[in-house]
C-alpha cells in the first residue's frame, strides 16, 4: 500500500475535475467551522464526510415525537444493547437518537484497556448530539503544562485565542452570564438562562461559606434569543434529536448552511478519507485519497489547503495511515508523538442530596442546561498535595414527581404520590482534568482492517493516580458543600465510566512549540507539511476541565484565518 501512495498516478483531466482550493475532512463541530470560514473567504471548498447526509430539519425523524409514540417509550430493546455494549453506555443513546450513533459492530476498534469510543458518522457528526456546554479556557489551562513541566507547553496563550472565542461565540450563539471569573473568562453572550430557586439558594450559601466556590449558569450553545435566523430555544430539552426550531448550535443548523450560502461549498457524504497524499517535491500535501463507502471506489481529490477534522482519533488514524518515504511513521510524525497523549475527562465523582424547603416553588419549561461550578482546586490560594490541576462540577437542582414513600405503596395512594411533587434535589458531578501521558495512546492495529481497507485503531489508555485522587476530592468536597448547605440524605452517585465515555477525547496530534516534541505548531499546522491543518480534539496539548468544543471552534476559525493569509502571501 505504501508504494502506491508514493507513486500515485495523477490523471490530469481527472485531477482538474477533482481539484478545489481547500478540502475539509469531516463535517462535525470543527469541520463545519473550517468549511464556513474557508467558503466565506472565497475558497472553493470540498467537505468530505464519511457518513450519510443529515439535512437540518428534514432529517430529524424523532424531533417532534411524543413519549408514547416511541414503540418502547424511549428504551432500547435488549437485543440492541446486547449487540452494542459500548454505545449503550452513552447517556444520550436512546430509541429517540439511535439513528445518530454508530453501532459497535459497524466500526470496530481494538481496546488494550477498556475504552468507550462514542461515534457519530453523518453530516454534522456529533454536533447534532453534543451537550452544548461552552465555557472558555483560560491561562490557568494554557500555562499549566509549561509551568509544571508536564507534557509540552501550549504554543498559545489566552490572548491568542480570546478574539477567536469572541468571533465564534458571536456566530454560534452562546447564552451565559458575565460572571467575572478568571478561570472561565466572560464571552459574547446571549441572555443567560435563569437558575431555579434551589440553585440560587445554593449559590448564595456557598458564596457565604467559601470564598472560592462560584455557582454559575453554564454557558451553553442554546439560543435564548433569535440569532442569525435560528431559534430561539423552545425549552423542550430534546436537543439531541435535532432541533426543529434550530434552537442550538450544530454544523447542520449553522455552519454548513452558512458555507452553502457562499456558493463555494461542495459536500461529499459517504466519503472515507483513506490517506493524505504527500508531494516530496513541494513538501506539501497534494490532496487526499477517498474511498466511496457505497461503491468502494477509490479516487483522489486535490487542494491547496487541507483541514483535518475527522474527530480526535479518526484524524490521528488518518495521519498514521498516511505514510510516505518522507513520513514513514505517519503524516507529520517526525516527533514520534502522533497517537500519543490521549486524554478524556474523568467524570467518576458525583454526589447528591435532598433539600427540605421551597416546597411552594417549582419551575416551568425544560431548561436545556445546568449550573456550573468552575475549577477551584490548585487555583488562587488553594494548593492540593494529592493531585495536580482540578475539576469543575456540573450541577443542577430539580424537583421530581413522588417521594420515597412511593416505593412501599400502591393503588390510590401511589397514584396520589406520583402525581404530586417530591422534595427538591441537587447534584454535583465532577468533571476532572486528565493529564497528558505519553503512554496513553492510539496505534494502528497490526493485523486488522475495516471494510475500507483502513487499519483498525488500537486504543490503550487509562486514568492514573492523579485522576483517581481527584475523584476522591470531587466526592469529599461535594459532600462538604451539601452539608454546609443543610442538605439531607446526601449520597455518592455511583459511577464507573470507562475512559472515553465522557466523549471529550483529546490529544494524539498535539500542538507545541517544537517540531521535535509535537505534531502541530501554534496555528495547528502540521510540522513538515505546512498546507495541512488539524483543528479538532486531536490538536489539544492538555485537557483542562472545561468542555472542549468551543475551543475547537475558536482554534479552527483562527487556523483558517492564518491559512488563508498564508495562501495569499504565497507561503502555502
Amino acid at each position: 500500500m505504501n508504494s502506491s501512495k508514493d507513486s500515485i498516478n495523477i490523471n490530469t483531466k481527472g485531477a482538474k475535475e477533482n481539484t478545489y482550493d481547500a478540502i475539509v475532512i469531516g463535517s462535525g463541530i470543527s469541520g463545519g467551522w473550517a468549511a464556513k470560514e474557508l467558503c466565506e473567504k472565497g475558497l472553493k471548498t470540498l467537505v468530505l464526510e464519511r457518513g450519510r447526509m443529515v439535512e437540518h430539519l428534514k432529517d430529524y425523524p424523532t424531533a417532534n415525537m411524543h413519549p408514547w409514540e416511541f414503540q418502547h417509550r424511549g428504551t432500547l430493546p435488549q437485543k440492541i444493547t446486547e449487540e452494542n455494549p459500548v454505545i449503550s453506555r452513552c447517556y444520550a443513546y436512546s430509541e429517540a437518537t439511535e439513528h445518530f450513533f454508530v453501532k459497535d459492530k459497524e466500526h470496530p476498534y481494538e481496546q488494550t484497556k477498556p475504552f468507550d469510543w462514542i461515534k457519530g458518522y453523518q453530516v454534522g457528526g456529533k454536533s447534532l448530539m453534543w451537550a452544548r456546554w461552552t465555557q472558555r479556557w483560560s491561562d490557568l489551562d494554557f500555562e499549566a503544562n509549561g509551568k509544571e513541566g508536564i507534557g509540552v507547553d501550549w504554543p498559545i496563550r489566552y490572548k491568542d485565542i480570546a478574539p477567536w472565542y469572541s468571533y465564534v461565540e458571536k456566530f454560534a450563539g452562546i447564552s451565559g452570564n458575565k460572571d467575572g471569573l478568571p478561570q472561565i473568562p466572560d464571552g459574547e453572550f446571549l441572555p443567560p438562562m435563569e437558575m431555579n430557586c434551589l440553585e440560587k439558594h445554593v449559590k448564595e450559601v456557598l458564596a457565604k461559606k467559601y470564598d472560592d466556590r462560584h455557582l454559575v449558569i453554564s454557558r451553553t450553545a442554546n439560543l435564548t434569543a433569535r440569532h442569525h435566523g435560528r431559534g430561539p430555544c423552545q425549552y423542550r430539552s430534546l436537543c439531541n434529536r435535532g432541533c426543529p426550531f434550530g434552537g442550538y448550535f450544530s454544523s447542520n443548523s449553522a455552519t454548513l448552511p452558512a458555507a452553502e450560502k457562499t456558493g463555494n461549498y461542495t459536500i461529499r457524504p459517504f466519503s472515507v478519507v483513506h490517506s493524505i497524499i504527500y508531494d516530496e517535491k513541494t513538501q506539501k500535501a497534494l490532496g487526499v485519497r477517498v474511498i466511496d463507502t457505497n461503491t468502494k471506489e477509490s479516487r483522489a481529490y486535490f487542494a491547496k489547503i487541507i483541514f483535518v477534522n475527522a474527530s480526535t482519533m479518526n484524524s490521528t488514524l488518518l495521519l498514521l495511515n498516511s505514510t510516505s518515504s518522507r513520513f514513514p511513521n505517519g503524516f507529520g510524525n517526525d516527533s514520534g508523538e502522533l497517537g500519543h497523549n490521549l486524554m478524556d475527562h474523568n467524570y467518576n465523582g458525583g454526589v447528591r442530596g435532598e433539600f427540605e424547603g421551597f416546597m411552594d416553588k417549582y419551575y416551568s419549561g425544560r431548561r436545556p442546561t445546568g449550573t456550573y461550578m468552575p475549577r477551584f482546586r490548585n487555583f488562587g490560594k488553594d494548593k492540593q498535595t494529592s493531585f495536580k490541576r482540578g475539576y469543575a462540577y456540573a450541577c443542577g437542582g430539580s424537583r421530581n414527581a413522588g417521594t420515597d414513600l412511593s416505593k412501599t405503596i400502591i393503588g390510590n395512594d401511589l397514584k396520589d404520590n406520583l402525581t404530586a411533587l417530591g422534595p427538591w434535589k441537587f447534584s454535583l458531578n465532577g468533571m476532572g482534568e486528565c493529564l497528558p501521558y505519553h503512554e496513553n495512546k492510539v496505534t494502528l492495529s497490526k493485523n486488522k482492517t475495516d471494510d475500507w481497507d483502513m487499519p483498525l485503531l488500537n486504543i490503550d489508555a487509562e486514568f492514573k493516580e492523579n485522576e483517581l485522587s481527584m475523584v476522591e476530592d470531587m466526592i469529599n468536597s461535594g459532600i462538604d458543600m451539601l452539608e454546609q448547605a443543610n442538605f439531607k440524605n446526601i449520597e455518592v452517585i455511583p459511577k464507573n465510566r470507562n475512559f472515553g465515555l465522557n466523549i471529550h477525547e483529546m490529544g494524539t496530534a498535539r500542538m507545541g512549540k517544537d517540531p521535535k516534541t509535537s505534531v502541530l505548531n501554534s496555528h495547528n499546522q502540521v510540522w513538515g507539511a505546512k498546507n495541512v491543518f488539524v483543528t479538532d480534539g486531536a490538536c489539544m496539548t492538555s485537557s483542562a476541565c472545561q468542555n472542549p468544543s468551543l475551543t475547537y471552534m475558536a482554534l479552527t476559525a483562527r487556523a483558517v484565518d492564518y491559512a488563508v493569509n498564508e495562501l495569499k502571501k504565497r507561503n502555502l
Binding site: H66, P67, W68, Q71, H72, R73, G74, T75, L76, P77, Q78, K79, M193, E194, M195, N196, C197, K200, Q234, Y235, R236, M359, D360, K361, Y362, Y363, S364, G365, R366, R367, R399, N400, A401, K407, T408, I410, G411, N412, L414, K415, L418, T419, A420, L421
Partner: protein, 190 residues
C-alpha cells in the same frame, strides 16, 4: 354445562383411562395456570395488575385504560434480560397460585379490595426480598418490583398518564425558573 351431566356423558364413552382436560373440571375450583411464556391471553390479567397498582380515580383514567398489559408484554419481550423475563413469567404463575390458595378464584374474579389486599401482601414479600439482599451488588428483582416499575413507566409515558395524571407541555416556549406550587399540583410529565 353442569358437571354431573358432563360426567355422565363422559362415562358413556366407555371405561378405562381417559384424560380429561384440566380446564374443563375447574368450573368450581380455581387451578393456577402454569405459564412458560407470555401471550396476549395474559393481557387482561396484566391490565388488572396494572390497574390495581395505578387505578382510575376521580378525574383521571388508570393504567388499564393506558393499555398497560400490552405494554408490559412488549417490554418484557423486547427490553428485558432473559433472567428477568423468567422472573416476570414465574411471578404471574406465583400470583395465580396465591389467588388459588387464598381465594380459590382467578385474580380477574377478585373484588377490587381483594386485588389490592393481595398485591399489598406480595409487595411486602418484595420489600423483604430486597432487604435480604442489602449489601449485594447485583440485586435480583422480585417479580412484584417488575410489575410495579413497568406499570409506573408505562402509565406515565402513555398519553393518558402524561396528559391526565401529569401536566404535559410538548413545547414550553419559555423557561420560568421559579413559579408558585400548591400542594397536590400536578408535576410536569417530561
Amino acid at each position: 354445562m353442569k358437571r354431573n351431566v358432563f360426567l355422565k356423558r363422559v362415562s358413556l364413552l366407555g371405561s378405562g383411562t381417559f384424560l380429561i382436560p384440566a380446564g374443563l373440571l375447574s368450573s368450581c375450583t380455581y387451578t393456577a395456570k402454569i405459564r412458560t411464556g407470555l401471550t396476549t391471553n395474559d393481557i387482561p390479567l396484566l391490565d388488572e395488575i396494572g390497574e390495581t397498582i395505578i387505578p382510575s380515580t376521580g378525574g383521571t383514567l388508570g393504567a388499564k385504560a393506558s393499555n398497560i398489559g400490552a405494554y408490559m408484554i412488549l417490554m418484557v419481550a423486547d427490553c428485558f434480560k432473559p433472567e428477568d423475563q423468567h422472573i416476570f413469567v414465574d411471578g404471574l404463575n406465583d400470583l395465580d397460585q396465591h389467588c388459588a390458595v387464598k381465594y380459590n378464584r382467578s385474580f380477574l374474579d377478585l373484588k377490587t379490595t381483594q386485588k389490592l389486599e393481595l398485591l399489598e401482601q406480595i409487595q411486602l414479600e418484595a420489600i423483604a426480598f430486597g432487604t435480604e439482599q442489602e449489601g449485594i451488588e447485583k440485586l435480583i428483582p422480585h417479580y412484584f418490583d417488575l410489575f410495579k416499575s413497568l406499570t409506573i413507566s408505562g402509565y406515565f409515558t402513555s398519553e393518558i398518564g402524561a396528559t391526565q395524571a401529569r401536566n404535559y407541555l410538548p413545547v414550553p416556549g419559555k423557561f420560568e425558573a421559579c413559579i408558585p406550587y400548591q400542594e397536590g399540583g400536578r408535576p410536569w410529565a417530561t
